[in-house]
Symmetry: C2
Subunit: 495 residues, 2 copies
Amino acid sequence: MCQEFRGGSQQLPTHVTGLGGLSSTSRVPRAPGRAVGPQQPLTRVGSRVSPARGVPAAPAPLRLCLSASGAGGASRAGRGSERVLRWPRHPREAPRPAGTRGDTAAPPGQRDGAMDGHTDSSWLGAPLEQLPTPALTLDLATLRGNAERMRERCRELGLRLRPHVKTHKTLEGAELATGGSRRGIVVSTLAEARFFAAGGFDDILYAFPVPRWRLAECSALAQRLQRFQVLLDSPQGLEMLLQNPLPGGKRWLVWLKLDCGNARAGIRPTDPEALSLARAIAQGSPELVTLVGVYAHCGNTYGCRDIVAIQAIARDTTAAVLEFVTALRQAGIPCPQATIGSTPSCSHPVPEMSQLTEVHPGNYLFYDLQQTQLGSCRPEEVAIRVLSRVIGHYPHRGQLLLDCGWAALSLHGRDRGPAGCAAIEGHPQLRLVGLTQEHGLVEAADGRLEFERFPLGSTLALIPFHACATAAMHPVYFVHAAGKVVELWRPVRGW
Amino acid sequence: MCQEFRGGSQQLPTHVTGLGGLSSTSRVPRAPGRAVGPQQPLTRVGSRVSPARGVPAAPAPLRLCLSASGAGGASRAGRGSERVLRWPRHPREAPRPAGTRGDTAAPPGQRDGAMDGHTDSSWLGAPLEQLPTPALTLDLATLRGNAERMRERCRELGLRLRPHVKTHKTLEGAELATGGSRRGIVVSTLAEARFFAAGGFDDILYAFPVPRWRLAECSALAQRLQRFQVLLDSPQGLEMLLQNPLPGGKRWLVWLKLDCGNARAGIRPTDPEALSLARAIAQGSPELVTLVGVYAHCGNTYGCRDIVAIQAIARDTTAAVLEFVTALRQAGIPCPQATIGSTPSCSHPVPEMSQLTEVHPGNYLFYDLQQTQLGSCRPEEVAIRVLSRVIGHYPHRGQLLLDCGWAALSLHGRDRGPAGCAAIEGHPQLRLVGLTQEHGLVEAADGRLEFERFPLGSTLALIPFHACATAAMHPVYFVHAAGKVVELWRPVRGW
C-alpha cells in the first residue's frame, strides 16, 4: 500500500489540540479516560483505571470513547485484570428491527447473507459500539441543532436560507436543512441535481458555470422541475442558453456569478462587462431567459484566522454584491435576488447581510475540525465523527495502529494545524501522525503512550478536519440518537 | 464551497514537470499544442494554430489533448476564425450499442431516462471526447501491458504474482492482473473480499491485521472459499482464531505479518516474540490453524528518491524475511511461503527476491505520477487519467478554471513535487495550482497563459499523483481502446 504521509510528533506541534475544550455533551455514556472495545456490553471501568502515568490529566471531558472490551492490548500491556476476554457477537446475531433489509443499493458482494458489509440496513437500531469500523457517524440532535440555528439566524436577518447540499449529498440532510420544505437548495453537480429532483426537491440552483456539453441534462431538469436554476459568468454561457431555448415557453432561470474576491468562478462586479452581461441576461431575450439574481461565494473566508477577518470578508462581499445590484437597478435592470455564502460567513453573519435576499452555506450541517478552528462553531456543534478501532500496539515506536486510513478520512487538513487530518475525541494527548489507505498511526504528543488505556478493539472517535472531504469517502452515514443507529443516509456520488 | 488549497505559481516551482518527457504513444489522434473541445467531430487544427507567443515550445509530444470545438474561449480570445460554434450533441442522441443499459448499480436519480449521469452503460462505444467530465479513464492497452510486464517479471524470478487489488477494486482489473485465473489476490478490506469472492475469485489474502470484531465475516469467507487467508501480527490475533475454529475441519490459513522497516503493522523479525508467535501459529493447534507464510510490505520505498534507494530497501526487506524464514526452518517450523510487496520494489526487483515465493504489488496496474517520479514506470505506462474540461477564463489573474476538483482527483500529491496533485498531459507549461471540491485552477508556469489554446469546453487530461486515491473518488472508470469506451469498471467501496 502506498505510504501517503507519516511523521512522528516532531511533525506536529505537541501542544494540545484546538479541540481541547470539547464540552461534555456525551452521546453515549462512557468511562472517562479509557477508550474501550466495541461489541461488548457497556462496562464502566473508569473508576478502576490506574491514574495516567506521566501524562497530564486529559483536560477535555470525554464524549465518545466507546465501551469496554478488554482483550488483546490488555494482556500485552499487562494491566488487564479487570477485563474479561470475550468474543464479540457479530451484530447480525443480535435481534434487529424487522423489515430493515433489502433496501440497500450496495454493490454486488455487499448483500450476501451473513457476509453483509455495513451498508446493510440491519445496522438500524444497533448500538454505536457494534458498528464495523471505520464508520462515519452523525449525531442527529447535533444535526438538528445546526440546521435550526442556521435557519433561526437567517430568520432574524430576514434572509432566505438556501442550503448547499454538497457536504452531505443526502436527501435526509437536505430535508433537515430545508426544514422539511424540500424547496430551495444549491447543488454542485448534475448528479446531485438529478438525485434531489428524483427525491422530491425543487427550486434547485446548480451553482456551477453551466457547461454546454451537459446542457441537455440541464434542459431536462429545467423541464422537469418548477424552478431549476443555472449560473453563469460569461457571455458564452448566456449565448448557449439563448441558442437552446427551453420548450413550452419556459425560461432559463439564471444567476450571474460574481467574483467578489474569492478568485474562483465569477465575473468581477467592477468589470465593465459585468453590467452588460447582467443586462443581456435580464433584457436580451426575456421570453427565453430570466435574470434571477446575483450569486457570490466567499470561500476566501477559509483563509481567515479569526471571526473578525471572516466578518470583514463577509462585509466586503456583501457590499460588492449590493453595490452591483444598486448599479443594475439604476440602469433599469431588474435583479430580484442576491446571495452570498460560505459556512464561516453565515455562522457569524454581519448585519449588512440582511440586505441580501438569500444565503447558501452548506458545511454547517455537519461542521468539522476546520470550522472549529475558524471559529464557525463550538466543538460540541460538530456532528460528524469517524469511528475507528485500535488494531495494533507498537510500543517500541510508541504507536497505536487504527483501522482508519485516508480511504475513510481523506488527507485534508494534513498540514493545517496541530491535529492534522483529525482530532481524536476525548484524547487531546493523542495525535494522528500518519495515514495510509486503510491504516492510521497514533502517537502520544509527549511520546508516552499508555497502551493499557487503548486495548486492541478500543474505539476512537475521529473528528475530521474537513467534513465535505471525509463524507465523500463513505457510501453510508450512520445517524445516531441515544447511542443507537436510527437512520442510514446514503449520499449520491459522481457527476 | 470550502477552499482547500490554492496558490499561485510561486507555490509551485516553475520548472517543467517531471512528466516533460512523456512520450508520444497517443491513444487518440490529436492536434499538437491545442486542447480542444469534447463533443464535436474531430477537427485537425494543429497546423492552423499560430505559434505559441512568448511561451517556449512544449518539449513534450502530446498525447490526449482532445478534439476541437471552438466556441466560447475562441470568441473571448478573439482567435476562433477556423472554428465553428456548434452545440454539441448530447451523447445520448448518438447511436449506442444495444443492450448496454440497465446494468448499472447507480443510486436513484442517476438512472433516470434522459437525465442519466455517466455511470450509465450507454457510454460504451462513445468516443472519449464525448464523456461527461470529470471522468476517470483507463487505457486498456496500457493496463494490459502493465499486467503482462509484471507477470513476466515474476515469471523470470520464479515468483508467484499475487496482485493487490486495492488500487482499482474491480473484478475486471483483478481479472487482468491474475492473467484470467481469478486466483491469488490480496485485498485490504472485507468489502473487497466479499466482492471478489462473489465475483468468482479465490485464494484471497485479507492483508490487514484480522479484527476480532469482524471475525464472523472472516469465518464466513473462509467457509465459502477454498483459500481465504488472514494475516496477524500478535498473539491476541492467534488466540482469537483458536477460540473461533472453523467448522468442518477447515483450518484458518494464516500469514504472519512482519515489519521489516516499514513501521506500520507487523512484528519485527528481530523481536524474540516473532519466532515464538510463528511457532504458535504453525504448531500450536495444527488442526485449527496453519501457518501459510510470512508477509512484509515495503511501503517505505515510497519515501525513496531513486531506484537505487528503492532496491536497497527491497534487498533489506527480502533479506530480513528470508533470514526469519531460515530461522524458522532451523527451529523446525514449517513456513511454506514468503512474500514482500510494493509497486516500486516490484517494478525493479532485485535478484534476491527470487528466493521469495510471492510478491504482492498493486498500484502497477494503473501506475501514476508518483510512480513516474519514483522511477517505477515510464510516463507512457501510466494508464490512468482524469479528463476535465475548461469552464472559465480569468485573464486578469492568468487562470483557467477546470471542472475537476478534489472530489475527482483527491488532494494527494499536493506538496509532493512540482506538479502537485496532477500533471496536465501534453502541457508541461501548465500547473494545477488550486483545487476546491468541484473546481480546479490552472496557471501557466511562466505566468503567460495562452487562453486561445484552451477555449471553453477544451478537454485536458490530468495525470493524477496517486492513482489509489483518485480511483477512490470515482463510481465508474471508463476503459478505452482506439479512442472509444470499451468497458465500464465499477469498483467496490466501503469496508
